[in-house]
């Protein structure tokens, strides 16, 4: 039987369901049976299409995670182009918006960052994909963008620490929704997300060693 409703191939369906489950529960907590049952397809289909469970997991990163990372990156670049300048304020705003409000649905965004966090706390082969093909290039790009606006005395390490700090906030507000909601007492609605973006920009900006006090 063709899985789920419609035109998707079994393969795609497996990838989609697997992503959701791996993100929510982690690799070891998900069984192949749970995946195939949820995807309404056969137990043997995972082995037929991917060889084994581990390769399915890797392909979730290769085929789905990477794609989302590219969407986010494209959104960032679009946002930035719309700003008309590349001041730290514009860069951070564009970045925070792409990552927090960005092109993904809330659910997709959650899965994306949960998978990322899982690879950071217990790296597998997928870590290389996350690191080399996504984070490193992004951070290098940001470094280039910030460079002209920072004091000459600021060395590369310090610039990187600043970028990592901004990234840590974005990451945290994405993956730690539960504790954040408990503490702040709001849901993650549109209004709160706007506020988060504004907060990240404000907090980051004044924290960055920019030449002049913008704003």
């Amino acid at each position: 039987m063709s899985p789920d409703s419609g035109n998707k191939t079994t393969r795609d369906c497996l990838l989609e369901v697997a992503e959701r489950l791996f993100a929510q529960k982690g690799y070891d907590a998900v069984s192949v049976r749970e995946i195939t049952n949820t995807a309404k397809c056969n137990l043997a289909s995972v082995n037929y299409h991917f060889g084994n469970k581990k390769t399915l997991y890797l392909n979730v990163f290769r085929e789905r995670w990477m794609l989302r990372a590219q969407y986010i990156r494209a959104c960032f670049e679009e946002n930035l182009a719309g700003c008309g300048d590349t001041s730290p304020a514009s860069v951070i705003q564009s970045l925070a918006e792409a990552l927090i409000k960005g092109p993904l649905t809330d659910e997709e965004r959650l899965f994306h960052f949960q998978l990322m966090i899982r690879e950071m706390t217990k790296p597998t082969e997928a870590f290389e994909i996350v690191m080399e093909e996504t984070m490193k290039p992004t951070f290098e790009g940001l470094e280039q963008l910030f460079q002209p606006y920072l004091h000459e005395s600021i060395d590369e390490d310090r610039t990187l620490l600043n970028i990592l700090s901004i990234f840590s906030m974005v990451l945290y507000f994405n993956f730690a929704r539960l504790p954040v909601s408990k503490i702040i007492g709001h849901a993650y609605d549109q209004r709160f997300k706007d506020r988060l973006v504004q907060h990240i920009v404000d907090f980051s900006l004044s924290g960055l060693p920019v030449k002049e006090i913008a704003r």
Copy 2:
């Protein structure tokens, strides 16, 4: 046979080994067999002392995780008392030092934050312990400390967002050592940790809406 070397009871030994393994691999990836083999004690000992695997996991939080959280808190208060004032600069410095250099060994600190992250991404009953008994009180304390130094126009939500942002950095630099090291290109030695603390203080301080520009 008495487990491991020495005076520790089997129970303590199980808790110690379980904490390490649960932190490194996550609940589902660790089997009771692995725990008892590593602890050099009997397969049945987990069920004898804790009833089942899940209760062992919970007790790791109740008996070990909470204790560490208390050490860190005590260290923070000691640091702060040593400062002689409660300016945001002193508070953040005391906090960052307690969390990044603090009273724990590197290994203990790593486990502590890995367990915390795991509960944040996939909460179990232990989440309540982490949240209600540790994070909430800490954040409320910080709120009180910052209050007198913030603009009157800053509402509670904004103060909390600021505290969460500082926390996100500390958390990130503790649990994401691997990607951080890859990007910065240093190990987490004493010198780098000093630098991290300094960076967090600098970045946070100028980011906080304090009345006057300290430093």
